[in-house]
């Protein structure tokens, strides 16, 4: 298996506006991890454990850290490496139609919008958005907006999808539907995903591997491989194996 992300001995300290000279607050401490091609990896941890920060560092949004991040052997500090990045907020532009929101990454990298639109048709259907192309975000449901944002993320032309709690703002039922849908789409395309969440069930259900983090400073406390077969089904969430995974993750997360 080829590694796509490799992080070694990464430390990040946050300095507030006034404590430049002081010690600062450790956000991430001694992070070592890797993500392989076509893998679905979750970063699981409480809020404030720095998992979103870690994603930002990988996306090249913040270069103020020690240690090394390598994306396909290159360092995002020095060169811009395209990644697909998505936040909890859908960040759809309210005055654009859904389709032109989705095409935004192509518009920004000055790609051919017309051919992209043609190629998009099957994907739009797959993402459950067919027929709503010319609606504005405010006219769509929360789940649809999130799916549109995911499709836009998918078109961002990176080798890896960095998803930062993409379903965090949705209600429980919609979230379950979105997980089912995401897992079915993912099993078809198998694009590498690094998924940030604080929901243990979600992490186990979706991932090949779950990396558990604890907070202040954020460190990796352990990781477990989820050996459920794909395609995944909801029933797997009810079996004893699932509870074993959950027990060991809870052990990792509360043991400090």
């Amino acid at each position: 298996m080829n590694k796509i992300i490799e992080i070694t001995q990464l430390n990040k300290v946050y300095y507030g506006p006034e404590d430049r000279e002081r010690e600062g607050l450790g956000v991430l401490s001694d992070i070592n991890m890797r993500v392989d091609d076509n893998e679905f990896v979750s970063l699981l941890g409480p809020s404030g454990c720095g998992k979103s920060t870690l994603l930002k560092l990988i996306a090249g949004l913040d270069n103020d850290y020690e240690g090394s991040i390598s994306l396909r052997g290159k360092n995002p500090k020095n060169t811009r490496i395209p990644v697909c990045y998505m936040l909890q907020k859908d960040c759809l532009i309210p005055w654009r139609t859904m389709i032109s929101n989705i095409l935004l990454p192509i518009e920004i990298r000055k790609g051919n919008i017309k051919t992209a639109k043609e190629n998009l048709k099957s994907l739009i259907a797959e993402f459950g958005l067919a027929g709503f192309e010319n609606y504005r975000p405010s006219q769509l449901s929360g789940g649809m907006r999130q799916r549109a944002a995911l499709l836009r993320t998918y078109l961002m032309d990176g080798e890896i999808m960095l998803l930062d709690e993409p379903f965090g703002a949705l209600d429980e039922i919609t979230r379950m539907q979105m997980q089912d849908w995401l897992i079915s789409v993912w099993e078809k395309h198998r694009k590498t995903v690094l998924f940030v969440t604080h929901d243990i069930d979600e992490a186990i259900y979706l991932s090949d591997r779950v990396i558990a983090m604890s907070n202040i400073p954020g460190t990796i406390v352990g990781e477990i491989c989820i050996d459920f077969k794909r395609p995944r089904t909801r029933d797997m969430l009810l079996c004893t194996q699932f509870n074993e995974y959950k027990r060991s993750l809870m052990g990792l997360l509360t043991n400090d």
């Binding site: 930002k56 996306a59 090249g60 949004l61 811009r80 395209p82 990644v83 990045y85 998505m86 936040l87 907020k89 960040c91 532009i93 005055w95 654009r96 139609t97 032109s100 935004l104 990454p105 920004i108 990298r109 504005r136 961002m156």
Partner: protein, 261 residues
């Protein structure tokens, strides 16, 4: 969908009722005014009744029209320049922090100097022609436009900016894509305030000295105790300002409606 449509209709019918209310109050006021003038037998040079004002308006219509054209064109030229200036300054100050830090305080100071002092000065420097009037109007109008636009350009959405930067958009590109369209309502709020200043600015600058215009005509009517003509003059000023305000509103609706890709 059905539900939202029916509530929309309900709101619309309420709107019509509310829109009628100011007219009703205005009409009532005019009737009371006329009655007061008639019953108390007030001399028309002190307070003319609405009927006298309408008569004056009709009698002097040709003269008033020629003065109106002068004032309106001054206002439109001044306002037009102020819009261009305000938009350019707003974009510069919204985009470059240094420019904002440097110029913002100066603009505020420019607004603390009373226009009433500047008008005679400008008349001395630039004569009684179009230039001093346009300058006064620009000074009065550019500030609300610049401030409103700059402030709305400064509103940032960090998540959105980060997302756009991951997509590879430059700072300027994301400024064009998100910030400017998002700041348009703010810009139009400034334009609406500024447009009412434009006629006012024209009138004030004409007071000091002009060959033609509603302002100079107003002073002439005043000094010859033609109070009804003065009122007619004011009525035109009010109508012009309202008309321009409405025009800005219509343009705003056209533009915001068309911002859909």
């Amino acid at each position: 969908m059905k539900k939202s449509k029916s509530t929309e209709k309900k709101n619309k019918s309420n709107d019509v009722g509310l829109k009628g209310l100011p007219f009703l109050l205005g009409g009532l006021f005019i009737i009371l005014w006329q009655l007061a003038v008639d019953i108390l037998k007030i001399q028309p040079y002190i307070l003319p009744g609405p009927v006298d004002v309408m008569k004056a308006l009709y009698k002097e219509r040709i003269l008033l029209l020629s003065h109106t054209i002068v004032t309106l064109s001054e206002a439109l030229i001044g306002f037009g320049i102020a819009v261009v200036l305000g938009v350019v300054l707003g974009i510069l100050m919204g985009y470059y922090n240094i420019i904002r830090r440097m110029f913002y305080p100066l603009f505020v100071i420019s607004q603390t100097i009373p226009l009433i002092v500047l008008t005679p000065l400008f008349a001395i420097w630039f004569g009684f022609g179009l230039l001093p009037k346009v300058l006064i109007i620009i000074l009065g109008c550019f500030f609300p436009i610049t401030v409103a636009f700059t402030q709305s350009l400064l509103k940032t959405d960090e998540d959105m900016d980060e997302l756009l930067s991951v997509m590879g958009a430059s700072r300027w590109k994301s400024f064009l894509l998100v910030r400017i369209p998002q700041a348009l309502p703010g810009l139009f709020a400034g334009l609406r305030i500024a447009v009412t200043y434009s006629i006012m600015g024209a009138v004030i600058s004409e007071w000091v000295g002009a060959q033609k215009g509603l302002g100079i005509y107003m002073t002439r009517a005043m000094t010859s105790f033609k109070t009804a003509v003065l009122f007619a003059d004011v009525l035109i000023i009010v109508l012009l300002s309202m008309g321009l305000y409405k025009l800005v509103e219509i343009i705003e609706r056209k533009i915001t409606k068309n911002i859909i890709y």
